[in-house]
Symmetry: C2
Subunit: 200 residues, 2 copies
């Protein structure tokens, strides 16, 4: 962006461009929107950010987002604490919650192991997962990591450690996504759907 732009705008654009998925053009579009709206719009956003900074933290048990010590799932006594679903991020947790049929607890790793980027097991919430498993109340750990090479390597790493504690480890089923056409499915998806075929 031009070096002669108003400095307050330049600073905001640089800040917006740091956000995931926001490039220079979307940053300018967002800035333009905020400026063209009534003052209350930008004030509402500022207030929301201030509140999140003040009160939002990670749940000390599962590392989901929380306003207090424990998140709304860990606080909910109707959820089954003997099953832990391991996800990469709170966004993945939210995706599973939206599906609506899971009633257990979660554990957010906040990433996967990527040796090439220097992300090892100790950079993730893996030790705290093992502490929960060693606590003795857990019957099953469901691995719900992305079906990418890094996600699968991380799943195998965790599976080995959890199994050592005598706890059952499962993984989300792989197969054709709902509504997909077989014609356009990739080879690996079809291969896994075949491997995982079930009696009808």
């Amino acid at each position: 962006m031009g070096r002669d732009q108003p400095s307050s705008l330049t600073v905001l654009l640089r800040r917006l461009e740091r956000l995931p998925g926001i490039g220079p053009k979307s940053a300018l579009r967002i800035a333009q929107y905020l400026i063209s709206q009534p003052q209350s719009e930008i004030e509402g956003l500022i207030e929301a950010l201030v509140r999140v900074r003040q009160s939002l933290r990670l749940c000390r048990q599962c590392f989901n987002f929380a306003d207090g010590e424990l998140c709304w799932i860990c606080q909910n006594s109707e959820r089954d604490p003997t099953t832990i679903c391991v996800v990469e991020t709170p966004a993945d947790l939210q995706a599973i919650e939206t599906a609506g049929n899971y009633k257990g607890h979660y554990h957010c790793l906040h990433g996967v192991i990527v040796p090439i980027e220097g992300v090892g097991p100790d950079d993730l919430k893996i030790n705290s997962l093992l502490d929960r498993v060693k606590g003795g109340r857990v019957n099953e750990v469901i691995l719900a990591l992305s079906p990418t090479p890094e996600g699968e390597a991380t799943a195998h790493y965790i599976a080995r450690l959890v199994r050592q504690e005598g706890v059952r480890v499962t993984q989300l089923a792989m197969g054709l996504p709902a509504g997909a056409s077989l014609t356009y499915a990739d080879q690996l998806t079809i291969a896994r759907a075949l491997e995982g075929r079930r009696e009808l």
Copy 2:
């Protein structure tokens, strides 16, 4: 998003989703990024928004973004004030500035005429453009509006009024975009490239 999420997060997500180009998933991704970074990241964004709210306004001459009364282009005595390039938004102005070969002034309409959405000429900065033209120092008005039906209707509307003041009106050339393949160009673009053909 689940109604049981931390309320500070829910409020932030709703605010982020109001921004152009941000849906529920990107809002969650942005919130997650802000929370996972050091505090300074979210504080920097808050500060940038506060500064923009406090100091950013629209230039009183051309309605570009400005920190003071006039924007950096209207303040620059090396720019030619006899030529005005009319754009829809400050983002379009920035796109032309990035191209780098225009040395005149601008006028931001902040939209185009869209009768079906109730946006008429009085909702745009058209009267102020005519005031500038009537000021007598302008030789040429270049219309750089989007080649959409609404953009073209707005261009024709403005062109008529500017011509009445005896000032020359031009429009950006239409034709094949640089690097494009003729095979994949749409009919209208090819038709206009033919109409606008030039001696070589």
